[in-house]
Symmetry: C2
Subunit: 250 residues, 2 copies
């Protein structure tokens, strides 16, 4: 649940921050304040309008109106206190080892909100499946020279095949793509798709690498392995902003 | 002026963001969203609750609940668009040269605010005057061996002297401190303070360095120059959180 205050008094803002800190909520505060820091280096920033972010793990960020980098920051584990003194709200963040101090002195708070954030998602390097398949669909030469792709994510009675197409020799082709090392399961998957068809399809398993066992099974079944060059592909990656823009391409 | 929406619909949030982008306002948005990025590298982050910041210069930051580093970011100069599609709000940020794309797909927006930020302050390396003088007051040995300081920022008829004290030989001392190279003005300042006193005070001008002209005048007046070792001082810097904690020391 979001809690927020618009144009609070400094006392209200200070109480709000201390309550949020107690339950380790995220706090985002926009106001007019100055910052002093000593620790890894030392710096002084006069008063200006900017935003201050405190995360539940005790990290602190000060962002100005421009640039992606924070002007001041403290890593996680800081002890943060807030109070009003002589008509200013003072937010003090202290890191114990190594010693680092950040002091923000607020003349005004314009808006402040706090919330807990539920976020269990994994951050994965590499593009999403959709982006990856889009680029292969536009560049079938990454799979095999002369290959033309006719559909993607085609539903079959035994599953959904990544691509269908026609190879240089005019054969109908099913392509199963893996973004990581292909194993025996991938071969079995491709085999199921091909066996579901009344007509003859060539099978291509396409991945950055393949296990020995999978390659042996693949060859026994008479299918082909095509190695994906992830570096070359990643140079061509783009994301299409919206669906209809994507539609124009196909 | 702050504009904000609490629990807006995705359509309201999208309109809000597009309006803010048009006038190059800062936008802070907290919600449930996934992120995909391709450019310098590529990455995929599944749905989770987090915050997204767009600055007026077209830089973009995505911050999760922990850590001072953004999980995704784009530098300034991005072209950003937002719209609702298939029940999701899609925020798309594109950098042209080099090509970089960030796509955030929102299931929910919890709070969003936008504002222009007036911030003309200079970011200066080095501690504030107050912090700097505090450390010297606690460590007069940085000024001169055996020196004891008795007051700081003492008002006189001719100005405010940084420190008063007693040196190893028992002489009363006035200390004028400069954080940068001391010039002739600093010598004249010290001279005014000392001449304002009916009793005899020793004069010390204390700075990381001094101009030739200033040193010559200083010696003519019979005062001393003491070189400040900024590196040694910076290792001892701390900031006191609140005034009363400071009072305990003196």
């Amino acid at each position: 649940m979001i809690q927020s205050l618009l144009y609070p008094s400094l006392e209200e803002a200070s109480d709000f921050i201390n309550s949020a800190l107690r339950v380790k909520n995220l706090v985002v505060c926009c106001g007019l304040f100055s910052v002093e820091y000593v620790g890894r280096s030392s710096s002084t920033l006069g008063a200006g309008e900017r935003i201050l972010i405190i995360k539940g793990d005790g990290s602190v960020l000060v962002h100005r109106s421009k640039g992606y980098e924070p002007v001041n920051w403290q890593p996680s584990g800081c002890i943060i206190r807030c109070r009003v003194e002589d008509g200013k709200m003072i937010l003090f963040s202290e890191r114990r080892r190594p010693k680092e101090f950040l002091k923000a002195v607020f003349d005004k708070v314009y808006i402040i909100f706090s919330t807990s954030l539920v976020d269990e998602a994994k951050f994965l390097m590499g593009p999403s499946e959709e982006t990856f398949y889009s680029i292969l669909f536009q560049h079938p030469e990454f799979i095999e020279k002369g290959l033309r792709l006719t559909s993607r994510q085609k539903p079959l009675s035994t599953g959904v095949v990544d691509f269908t197409g026609i190879d240089e020799g005019g054969n109908y082709v099913f392509v199963e793509v893996k973004r990581r090392t292909a194993g025996v399961d991938a071969v079995k998957q491709l085999d199921r798709y091909i066996k579901s068809q009344p007509t003859r399809f060539r099978g291509i398993l396409c991945a950055p690498s393949i296990t020995k066992q999978a390659l042996s099974l693949l060859e026994k079944k008479g299918y082909s392995f095509r190695k994906l060059d992830l570096n070359r592909i990643s140079k061509l990656l783009t994301i299409e902003p919206f669906e209809e823009t994507l539609d124009k391409h196909f």
